[in-house]
Structures are given as structure tokens and as C-alpha cells.
Symmetry: C3
Subunit: 200 residues, 3 copies
């Protein structure tokens, strides 16, 4: 079940990478590279920081999901724009799972809780950061979207749960993922955003 959503997350991120690459007028290969980095870049940064093996490198199924996602993004660009809602749901499930898996991996590697929390946020968001940097834009999450905050809140809930001995229970996973999903959905629905530094 987790593995299913993990792969769906990669697929959806790869699709969104290809869509952004199309808007930036990149070529076909650039599109697939951006799809790859959007989908697997966050986990790559997490694993580099943990000084451990980069997970996707030995996972053919993750690489396959990138290629499939990139191709879907390429072929169905116009139709996908009408499926915004479906797309949003899977994207949100993807980031919520990536966050918790990142936090878990941090804990597995004996990191202090706040570092594990950062690793969760990095897993979920830095693929998008790298995508934006490569497309020569200031990363979206630094200036527009409430994207990382739900990850931090959900990750913190997960961490609190492990502190009380509920780690690796499905309940804790579902609870923290639900928080991320709900907060992000509300944020997009009601247009919540972080205040700009200038406004403070």
C-alpha cells in the first residue's frame, strides 16, 4: 500500500516536471531530465545528506515510473490541465507520503528529531526546488505556495507519535499523512499563503 502510493507520488511528480518543462520551452530530453529531478531529486538530496546509498539508483520500478510519468505528461498535456483536481489529490498524497518516509528514514539513521523533520520536508519539496532552479526560476515554495508548512506540521505529528511509542504503526502514518493532505487542501481552497517577509 505504501509502496503503491510511493510509486504514484513519483509518477505524479514526473508528470508535473514534464508539464513545467513544456511551459519553459525545453526540448524532449530536457523534459525527461526535469521529470526525473522533480520526482527523485528530493529523495536524492535526503540520501546524500544522510551519506547513504541513493535509493532510486537500485530501484528499477522508480526509474520506470519516471519514464512513464514523463511520457504521460508529454502525450496528455492538454487533457491533464482539465484533470487538475485528480492531479492535485495524487500530488498531495505524494508529498504527504514522501514527507513521512523522509522523517522515518532520518530516524532510522539516528538523526535528531528536528533534522529528521527537515529531511522529511526536503524529501517532499526539494525535487521541486531543483526543478525551478534548473528552469531558472526562484523556487515556487519560497514565494507562493503553502507547500512545505503542511509537511512540517504532519512530520511533527509523526515525530510526536514516535516519541510516545507509536512508531511504525499504520495509524500514526495515516494520521500524519491526513494532516498534511487536509492542511494543504484547505490552504489551496481558501488561498492561504505565507506572508512575504516585506509584509512583516
Amino acid at each position: 500500500m505504501l509502496i503503491f502510493f510511493d510509486h504514484i507520488g513519483v509518477l505524479v511528480f514526473a508528470i508535473s516536471g514534464m508539464l513545467v518543462a513544456g511551459e519553459e520551452n525545453l526540448d524532449l530530453l530536457g523534459g525527461y531530465i526535469i521529470a526525473f529531478i522533480t520526482a527523485l531529486g528530493g529523495g536524492t538530496v535526503r540520501d546524500l545528506l544522510l551519506n547513504t546509498e541513493v535509493a532510486w539508483m537500485s530501484s528499477l520500478s522508480h526509474i520506470a515510473m519516471v519514464l512513464i510519468g514523463g511520457t504521460i505528461g508529454l502525450l496528455f498535456r492538454d487533457k491533464l490541465k482539465k484533470l487538475r483536481r485528480t492531479f492535485f489529490i495524487f500530488d498531495t498524497l505524494g508529498i504527504s507520503l514522501f514527507t513521512i518516509l523522509g522523517v522515518q528514514k532520518g530516524l532510522t539513521y539516528d538523526q535528531v528529531p528536528i533534522t529528521a523533520l527537515f529531511l522529511g520536508m526536503i524529501s517532499a519539496t526539494f525535487g521541486g526546488v531543483l526543478r525551478d532552479v534548473l528552469c531558472n526560476q526562484v523556487p515556487l515554495i519560497f514565494r507562493k505556495e503553502i507547500y512545505a508548512i503542511p509537511c512540517l506540521v504532519g512530520g511533527a505529528i509523526y515525530l510526536s507519535g514516535t516519541y510516545f511509542g507509536f512508531d511504525k504503526t499504520l495509524w500514526l502514518l495515516l494520521l500524519s499523512m491526513s494532516f498534511i493532505t487536509i492542511i494543504r487542501t484547505l490552504a489551496v481552497k481558501y488561498g492561504w499563503r505565507m506572508p512575504l517577509i516585506k509584509e512583516l
Copy 2:
């Protein structure tokens, strides 16, 4: 004493990261992320290159300094602009210490001297490089400021000292740090800058 300046360096770099983020019109979270990367990004690149544990990940006090520095940068933006001189002194002490600590760490990990020197420069300057790349600018140190040259000179003095057996003496540390501080101060005072490639 060293640990004190190390933390002050992180604090000052975090403040400057938040100030730049404010000018780039980022939001609150973007500000803290840029503060984090400005302060700890150079050391992160150094540790990734050394294929070792990333130092800040297990150091709560460094993470705390980033959060405090970011908050100071946020709350006292206007006042800080009047304290340019104080700010400059701590910034210069910060880079001089980061340089020497980077060189030392390189030597500890059995790197050849020139690589250790590069690691010192990377420790001191790549946080700023990453900050500029994320804010979608050509890094400042590539085009305007004499920033890396004092680091290279001071690092070279430190390396010469270790060659003659003075490594880990406080004298050598102070001497090489003083060189960095003095050269940089003179450079800013008299407007020294590197020639542009075009001018050569």
C-alpha cells in the same frame, strides 16, 4: 572560543540570508530556508565532498543559531542596515574562521593541501553561492566582491604553518584568521576588486 565564533558566524550568515531573502520578495518560509542554506550550505558542500557526515545534522546548537539569526534578520531588518559596520566585522570573522576550520577538516581527512585549501574556501563561500543561485542571481563572489581571495590567502598561510609543524597551535590559527580579516577589510575599504575577464 573557536566554538563561540563558529556559532556567531552561523548566526551572522543566517541574518544576512534573511536580509537577502527579504529583498528578493520571498515569503517567511523561503526566508528561513535561505537563512539555513546561507549559514550551513558551505559546510554541507564541504562534508558531501569529503563523503562524511554533514556536521550540522547532529548539532542542535548550529540549527538553533540559524533559527535565531533568521528571526533577528526578520525583526530588525531596518535597524541592521544602520549597523553595517558591526555586521561586517562579524561576517568577516565568520568567513575567516569557516575557512580555517574547512582547511583543518580537509587535512584531518587526509586531503592533499590544495584540496584542503579549496575545501576551506568552499566552507566560507558556497553558502552564499547557493543562496544566490536559489534567488536566481549570478553568485556575487563571481562578479563583484573580493571575498574568496582573502580566504585563499589565509588558508595558504595556515597550510604553510602546518607544513612547518605548527598545526593546531592557536598562534597559527590567529595569524591566518587575521590575514583574512585584514585583507578583506582593506579590500572593502579601498574598493579593491578582481579584474573582470573582459578587462584582461
Copy 3:
């Protein structure tokens, strides 16, 4: 012989880094840093992903080639523009060798074939990607040049050869490198390029 071309590749990449830095109006130090990253950045990313020692850090001869290449790029900027053809030949030999060495290193570290192929492409092209990102441009290989495709084809030929037991034969190396060289030369001669995503 391989080592000779490897060093020539680094030299040529460093020259091209300095030339690009000059066009971007960087200063002298920025020029050398860009030369360094253009020449050795691809291999650095490869080695970070492999979670192993970064090769250039213990290789004085590679560091020397960067410094020499950067200086050549600086002193002979105008003359080099007339030597486009010679320059192109060495550049192409450089990327073809970097590709195969990257694939080989991936296999040595027990990566699956497709990951080894990606590592070959990364070795040959990501120095240029990092150069473009630091110079605040969308990477050239994402939008204009047929650059990575010959690497992928040549790398695939090499991988097929190893599958049939010809690994570490000089013949296989020359065959796959020739493919990269020939395809790239034809691509530039006849103006082949990848279709843009928009055109599909």
C-alpha cells in the same frame, strides 16, 4: 592513452568554462571557479551519487589541468574562437570518454545497467549543467544542443558489449566512443536537434 584523453577532456572543458564565464562578464576568480565546475562537476555529481570518494580531490594532475585550461581560456580567448573546429574535436572526444568512464565506474560499483548509463551521461554533461545554472541560464542541453543523446547511445552500446562479455576490451571502448563522436559530429554538421516539447 585513456588517461591522456581524460586529462585533455578536463583541459578542454576548463577552457570552455572560462570562455563562457568571460561572456557572462564574471571576474577572474569566478572564471576559474566556473572552469573548475565545468571540467570536474559532472564527475563530482557522479561520485556523490555513488557515495564514494570524489575522484579529482586526490588527483593533482586533474586540478592542474583545470588551472592550465582556465589560463589558456583566459589568455587566448580571441584566437580560440578561430580554432572552433579543433576545439570541437577535443570537446567531443572528452565527452565520449567521460561517458564511458562514467558507465564503467557505475558498473564497478555494482549499479544496474540503466543507472550506470545515467551516470555516464551525468559525468559527461552535468559539469555544463552546473556551469549554466551558476551563470543563471537554463542549461543548454535542455533546450538546444544534441549533446546527451550521443552519450546515451554510446553508453548503451558499451553496456551491450559488457553484457556479451567484452568489458574492458579496448575494442569496445573505441567502438562506443566512436559512436558518440560520430553522432555528435553529424548532429552539429546537419543541425539535428531534439524536438521541443511544444512541437510534439
